[in-house]
């Protein structure tokens, strides 16, 4: 058994609210911040909110498919972070800044 029997004490709706709040905080960060590294971090935050909800539903329903999906989301997040940061380093070499507002002129 787990440390405390959470399934009888916490409704799944509380997990839905928690991950919704986390997702919206991440969305706010993506809209608000300009530093590209912080943007990538906010995307990771949103992915983690979804992961939490997947795990909560999987555990409450007694079906392991949700946890497998969390596994795949983590894989995609790792690949995304690696390629995104490589692009970021490239952008920094060209513009000497990680400000995304410099990237509005895609003239090549």
């Amino acid at each position: 058994m787990s440390i405390l029997n959470i399934f009888n004490q916490v409704e799944i709706s509380h997990y839905i609210y928690l991950s919704t709040v986390l997702f919206c905080i991440g969305l706010f960060g993506v809209l608000f911040r300009r530093n590209a590294i912080i943007l990538l971090m906010c995307i990771e935050l949103m992915l983690n909110a979804v992961n939490l909800l997947f795990t909560a539903f999987s555990s409450y329903m007694g079906d392991s498919d949700g946890q497998i999906f969390v596994f795949f989301i983590m894989v995609v997040a790792a690949a995304e972070a690696a390629v995104g940061l490589a692009i970021l380093v490239l952008v920094y070499r060209h513009t000497r800044s990680t400000d995304v507002s410099f990237l509005d002129r895609l003239k090549g």
Binding site: H14, L27, N35, L52, S97
Partner: protein
Amino acid sequence: MQNLPIPFLVLSFLTILSALYVVTSKNPVHSVLALIFTFFTISAHYVLLNAQFLAIVNLIVYAGAIMVLFLFVLMLLNLSKDTEPVKSNWWGIAAAISAGSLLLIITAAFQVSGEAVAKNPVEGLGLVKALGKVLFTRFVVPFELTGILFLAAMVGAVLLGKREKGNDVLISKEESKG
């Protein structure tokens, strides 16, 4: 709000607080550290939810690998101090309104849809044995595809990160111009 257990409340509070700090902190290094703390609290949530394997994988992959990569790039580009230009207040207000209305709509949709959730927790669901059986039988094709995805991501990252001589010339030309 009925009687929620204290560990759940404390963990949720810490999660939301550190997530807010990630977004609002001026110093990028503080943001990264707060995000690592958020991942730790989410791992604790996984332990509460009987998903022990995912808790460990979350710590290893996110807090261990991805965040170290972020921190490394941050140090490499020497962005540890605040270099972000000040945005106008209107931008923050617009972002807050957008995120807040999404929050409102999702919670309202959930309230309307009502609670139709069956509780059927299974013993030992989140352990390696149970997950491995599913992963290597029904999900074996996606599992192999993730290998291809990782290979493509690795090749892409190496290709992008490779320093070419032409690029340097371009930068020095631009810098001498501007």
